[in-house]
């Protein structure tokens, strides 16, 4: 595998044309709920900063008043004032943080929960397009960046500019000439900051995306660890990870360089201005046009404005990062969940059922019609233009109560077809009906209740065995669980440390492929579903277990309408009839024996013997 970092497959949005502020404004729905806390916190911070500005004035009046006039009583008075102000400042500083601690944590929590909920409801085709590391980095580091922004930069952008303005006001009231000299550098600063904002925001977006890519490589290397170990390729993968990490480092260094330049200007310019105003001030005091106390007060005020000005660099950098993180968050949240697409379709008046051109009019269909696919066409949304449709006008009727085996060469679209029934993908045209009802007219949740599936790749979740199985029918009685485990020959769960309450999945006991497959099968049959879709459900089972499962499954299948993808004659024999999928259509339907007689393609598929003309059957 190439050690060159891959071009990220995740769709990258063009860099946003709008400003950071517009991105950040989108956070309003979340911020709204904590706005009073944020407001209180801002007020506290503002008051704290103002008292920090007032304290030097008190100090000035102590120096100019009681100290200069040797007035002990006045000193005590001023001293008490200073103490009160100091305690107030401390209380306000604490209050600022106390007020927002829980609200901010809850904003982060709600945003993450929304992201998670939305991702669960986005169509599978969305997940096909997005690398999982990109999604993960949005749920963790981006969320953290946004919380941090709300905690500090947001409040301090407001507070510091107000403190700055107030400080400037005080300085002007003390000595307008000195104040003018001090304020002058603000003009180049503003120009510089807007230049900086553009470049920094591009760099931070790049770095966040690269972080996501890095997480993707990491995740794959952990999920594919067995393959890497089998081939001793961890060095290759490590080199790839390193190359990706180095890209990220380059971007981070670029950010550091930008920040260094900005800081230099932001720190340097006001200092220079302060130096000049010091000289001018000294001249003024010498000429008697101002007092030493005023100069001390002025310089003290100017020095306490250092932080608000210096912090600008930091605040700008953070705001930009938060803005790009927000963009990334909303890229996911703006994607429309499958149900919303339905509503949009319904609202736009597009008929949900396209003209069914089958011989049977839908109104006349009997109530128990089974599964009927009519003229189904499907291609993956990101399939390159010009490539043929994967399913091109497929017709298939599975009678009510019948079990249909679906066979076809590897890659002919069998698994895709099974994913269409519970609407994990949407068909492009044609229609699929269950007992005469178009699946697009059945709410997704209901449809998925009707159609139960066992996937080719059996996935267990971090939960107990019984939860994993009962996922297929949350309200099923306890006997149903036992029955389903028996059907799937998954009695082994009873010998697990805690029986059916044993935790399995990512965070529990790891089970073998065959065991996982049996539990996935139990999950599919537990609710006695009306329609059952099994994708090669017995592939990982040994011969005995397979035979036992088949025997038990026959009972279940006898009164269920089922589609079973099969690679082997033994699985085919579960079915009443067999459909052969080739070139995007069903090319033959019949019993196993009929097809063995009539279809050379089928014969080859089942026995491996080539068709009589010797050509490889496609």
């Amino acid at each position: 595998m190439s050690t060159q970092p891959q071009a990220p497959s995740t769709p990258r949005q063009p860099p946003p044309q709008h400003s950071a502020i517009r991105s950040l404004l989108r956070l309003w729905p979340y911020v709204r709920q904590i706005r009073w806390f944020l407001f209180g916190s801002t007020v506290a911070a503002l008051l704290a900063s103002l008292s920090a500005l007032v304290i030097p004035l008190v100090l000035k009046s102590i120096v100019d008043g009681p100290v200069a006039h040797r007035d002990t009583a006045g000193l005590w008075q001023q001293g008490v004032l200073l103490l009160v102000l100091g305690l107030l400042e401390a209380g306000l500083f604490g209050m600022r943080r106390l007020l927002v601690a829980r609200p901010l944590a809850s904003v982060e929590r709600r945003m993450r929960a929304d992201l998670y909920a939305r991702l669960q409801r986005l169509p599978v085709s969305f997940h096909d397009r997005w690398a999982s590391g990109q999604l993960l980095s949005r749920a963790t580091s981006d969320m953290y960046t946004i919380r941090l922004f709300l905690a500090f930069p947001l409040i301090f952008l407001i507070v510091n500019s107000m403190v700055f303005l107030t400080g400037i006001g005080i300085m002007f009231s003390l000595d307008w000439q000195l104040a003018l000299i001090t304020v002058l550098p603000a003009v180049p600063l503003i120009v510089l900051c807007s230049w900086f904002e553009r470049r920094y925001s591009a760099a931070s977006r790049l770095s966040q995306d690269q972080n996501g890519d890095l997480a993707t490589v990491l995740e794959e290397s952990v999920l594919g660890i067995r393959i890497l170990k089998s081939f001793g390729r961890h060095r290759t993968m490590a080199a790839r990870y390193r190359a990706q990490a180095e890209l990220l480092r380059e971007t981070e260094l670029k950010k550091a360089r930008l920040l260094a330049d900005l800081w230099a200007v932001i720190v340097g310019l006001p200092e220079l201005a302060l130096g000049v105003s010091l000289a001018v001030g000294v001249v003024q005091v010498a000429h008697g046009s101002t007092t030493a106390g005023t100069l001390v007060g002025f310089l003290s005020t100017a020095l306490s404005l250092r932080w608000p000005v210096e912090s600008l660099g930091w605040l700008l950098a953070y705001s930009n990062e938060a803005a790009t993180a927000t963009d990334r968050f909303f890229e996911v949240l703006d994607a429309r969940p499958a149900d919303a697409e339905d509503e949009a379709r319904a609202a736009s008046g597009t008929p949900t059922t396209e003209a069914a051109t089958s011989g049977t009019a839908s109104t006349e269909q009997p109530a128990r019609d089974g599964i009927r696919l009519t003229g189904v066409r499907f291609r993956y949304p990101d399939a390159p233009a010009g490539s043929p449709d994967l399913l091109s006008g497929l017709d298939l009727h599975i009678r009510s109560g019948e079990t249909m085996a679906l066979v076809g060469l590897t890659g002919s679209g069998k698994t895709t077809l099974t994913a269409l029934l519970p609407r994990l993908y949407e068909i492009d045209s044609g229609r699929i009906t269950l007992d005469g009802q178009d699946i697009r007219e059945i709410p997704r949740a209901r449809l998925r209740e009707l159609v139960s599936m066992a996937f080719e790749e059996p996935t267990l979740f971090s939960a107990s065995v019984s939860e994993n199985v009962l996922m297929g029918a949350p309200d099923a009685p306890a006997e149903a669980l036992d029955r389903a485990l028996d059907v799937a020959q998954a009695q082994f769960v009873r010998t697990l440390p805690e029986g059916v309450d044993t935790q399995v999945g990512e965070q529990g006991l790891s089970l073998s492929g065959g065991q996982r497959q049996r539990l996935a099968l139990a999950r599919a049959v537990v609710g006695a579903p009306e329609f059952l879709v099994l994708d090669d459900p017995l592939s990982a089972l040994d011969v005995h277990t397979e035979a036992l499962v088949e025997q038990a499954l026959r009972q279940v299948l006898s009164d269920t309408t089922a589609l079973v993808v099969a690679h082997r004659p033994s699985t085919v024999l579960l079915a009443d009839r067999v459909a052969l999928l080739a070139d995007g259509r069903i090319t033959a339907v019949g019993t196993h024996h009929e097809l063995l007689e009539s279809s050379p393609d089928y014969r080859e598929l089942m026995s491996g013997e080539r068709a009589e003309d010797g050509s490889l059957v496609r």
């Binding site: 100091g86 480092r249 440390p497």
Partner: protein, 627 residues
């Protein structure tokens, strides 16, 4: 064919699953859920990790510290110059001597320029150091995670490793980016100001510094509390990541089984715990900031009043008090920064603990200390090598024995099929040969060389295993095949695909071998992925090939293509084939039937089929399943 016949032959075979046979073959050690899975951190490991990360950058760190020291000095000179200007500059100017004023102004401007330049260089330099440290840390976590053995991965879970290398590293980055600079400048400015204060007036100076004691005590208390909170936070975020990745990797079943609502409530628990520990961290910091700031302000008031008395008594100059007042505010300014630094420090040290724990975990299948090589092949010899299991036994860490002591020799070039019920020990046998595990007793040798003494590259030239897992890495199909041999040419990759019967489907993909699998990862079917896995193995061209149920998702033509390839391309190699499908067995030279960890039958397929043992009945059942 008849169903009843099949049933009968099976009934003879196995009445009901015996508990042992049903235990899965991989590591069965239950991983307790919750937090207990976290590996213990050896004492001092986080510190040692930090030292080893910082070590190579000593020179740069020293330079950066000098820079920031001088920069702080330049900045702190400011108030001193102000005081000088007021006490000396003004009277001098009244006497028409502009000298002191010019000197002061020049000094102030010079210091400002110096501070600016140093600030810029410091950020750049520390950026370089920080990024180098982060890169090194990422690299170590990644390499170590890759080196850890499979049983570890099964216990620790992918999400937790991901959390170590993402969220935990981010936390350390936060500290490096902002925290360290803050701390350095805080320490330095406190130091400078203290010195300046003592020099200006030692009485007031010492009194000011005495404030360090109460502030230190508050800080210590805060550190203790926040350490606990941040540890909890690191564990909680790992839990969030585990849940998140599990859902996203299983999105199809999640949606098909309407798992969304249940997942949301499970996610809400982890998410809530994380939010909770975050809120607690923020709250405890708020309390600390308020206390420390209040202490500082009380101190300032006291000092100012005392200073004012001293001025009144005439034992202190007014200018000195003015400067003192300015410096005092500055002395206590960093209280907030100290709190923020402590915050990132505690968070990062909790993360470092977790990372150090992972890094300190020794791989249970370590690289050899003294690497050996496989003996060179004689000219014209077959490529296969002889495998010997010498008194090998295998038990899990829990002590449960999976394979009792046994000897087994597989001569070079022989292909051996291993069959038996689930749990018979077939996969464990394969994993010992592939050195995914090391035996508890005895040794596995390849041409007489112990597998444990072979370094990874040499080992994988010798033994390669194809599993039933069919994971594809992002990248093109060609790159996925090239995992077998990274330096393979495109012709070799295509030839391998052709030999295994995968060429046609790959060529029909939109961009052929250059198709990005991630874009259509869901589209390449399980069977096709298994073919890609085979092409990989073919390309790797090992002396010994292990197939662990590697054909389970293939259809019959696909399986036959694989078998043809094995009988031609892989001829002369030693092969161990674990299969449920007995069709695979027919091409083997020898069949081992395993039951409960023991080899119970051993012979050629023909012998065993014609016999009356387990294999004969297995085979019978299989024949009948065919038609």
């Amino acid at each position: 064919m008849s169903v009843t016949e099949t049933e009968e032959s099976l009934a003879l075979e196995e009445q009901g699953p015996s508990p042992d046979a049903l235990l899965p073959e991989e590591d069965r050690v239950p991983a307790p859920s919750g937090e207990a899975e976290d590996i213990p951190v050896p004492p001092g490991a986080p510190r040692a990790l930090l030292r080893s990360l910082l070590g190579p950058h000593k020179a740069r760190i020293v330079v950066a510290m000098v820079m920031i020291t001088v920069q702080q000095a330049a900045l702190q000179v400011g108030p001193l110059l102000v005081s000088y200007a007021i006490d000396r500059g003004i009277p001098a100017l009244r006497d028409h001597d502009a000298g002191p004023l010019i000197a002061v102004t020049a000094g102030y401007l010079g210091c400002a320029a110096l501070a600016t330049l140093l600030q810029r260089s410091f950020i750049r330099l520390s950026g370089v150091v920080n990024q180098a440290i982060l890169l090194e840390m990422r690299r170590r976590i990644f390499r170590h995670a890759q080196a850890l053995s499979l049983d570890f991965h099964e216990r620790y879970t992918s999400g937790r490793i991901i959390s170590r290398a993402t969220s935990d590293v981010d936390t350390v980055r936060e500290l490096l980016n902002e925290g360290l600079q803050e701390l350095l400048s805080v320490i330095l400015s406190v130091f400078y100001i203290s010195v300046v204060l003592i020099v200006m007036d030692w009485r007031l100076g010492l009194a000011s510094l005495a404030s360090a004691l109460p502030i230190y005590l508050f800080t210590r208390g805060y550190r203790r509390r926040s350490q606990v909170i941040f540890r909890r936070s690191r564990t909680a975020v790992a839990q969030v990541i585990v849940r998140f990745t599990e859902t996203m990797n299983g999105i199809r079943p999640v949606q098909a089984f309407r798992r969304e609502a249940a997942n949301e409530s499970a996610f809400a628990v982890s998410n809530g715990q994380y939010a909770d520990s975050n809120a607690q961290g923020l709250l405890s910091m708020a309390r600390f900031v308020a206390t420390a700031r209040a202490t500082a302000n009380i101190w300032i008031t006291g000092i100012v009043i005392w200073g004012a008395f001293l001025v009144t008594q005439g034992s202190l100059e007014l200018g000195v008090l003015a400067a003192f007042v300015l410096y005092l505010r500055r002395l206590f300014d960093p209280v907030d920064q100290v709190a923020m630094f402590l915050n990132s420090y505690q968070s990062a040290s909790a993360a470092l603990e977790k990372i150090a724990g992972l890094l300190a975990h020794e791989p249970s299948v370590p690289e050899p200390a003294e690497p050996a090589e496989l003996p060179a092949k004689a000219e014209g010899a077959i490529p296969g090598r002889t495998v010997d299991f010498d008194g090998v036994a295998f038990s899990y860490r829990t002590g449960k024995q999976i394979l009792p002591r046994f000897d087994l020799r597989i001569p070079a070039g022989q292909s051996v099929a291993v069959v038996g019920a689930t749990g018979a020990g077939k996969s464990t046998l394969a994993k010992l040969l592939a050195r995914f595990y090391d035996p508890s007793e005895g040794q596995v040798t390849l041409d007489g060389v112990d597998l444990r003494s072979l370094p990874t590259p040499e080992l994988r030239r010798g033994v390669v295993m194809v599993t039933q897992e069919s994971f594809l890495f992002s990248g093109t199909v060609a790159e996925n095949i090239a995992i077998g041999r990274p330096d393979a040419t495109r012709e070799e990759i295509e030839a391998a695909a052709k030999a295994i019967g995968a060429y046609e489907f790959i060529a029909e993909l939109p961009e052929g071998f250059d198709t990005d699998v991630r874009k259509r990862g869901g589209r390449i079917s399980a069977g096709q992925r298994q073919l890609v896995a085979f092409a990989r193995a073919l390309l790797a061209d090992p002396a010994v090939l292990i197939l662990d149920e590697a054909t389970s998702s293939l259809d019959i033509p696909g399986e036959q293509a694989v078998q043809r390839a094995m009988s031609t391309v892989l001829a002369g190699r030693t092969a161990v084939i674990i299969a449920h499908r007995l069709s695979t067995v027919e091409i083997a030279d020898r069949v081992l039937v395993m039951d409960q960890g023991n080899v119970v039958e051993d012979g050629t397929p023909a012998d065993l089929i014609s016999g009356t043992g387990r294999f004969a009945s297995l085979h019978q059942a299989w024949r009948e399943s065919l038609v």
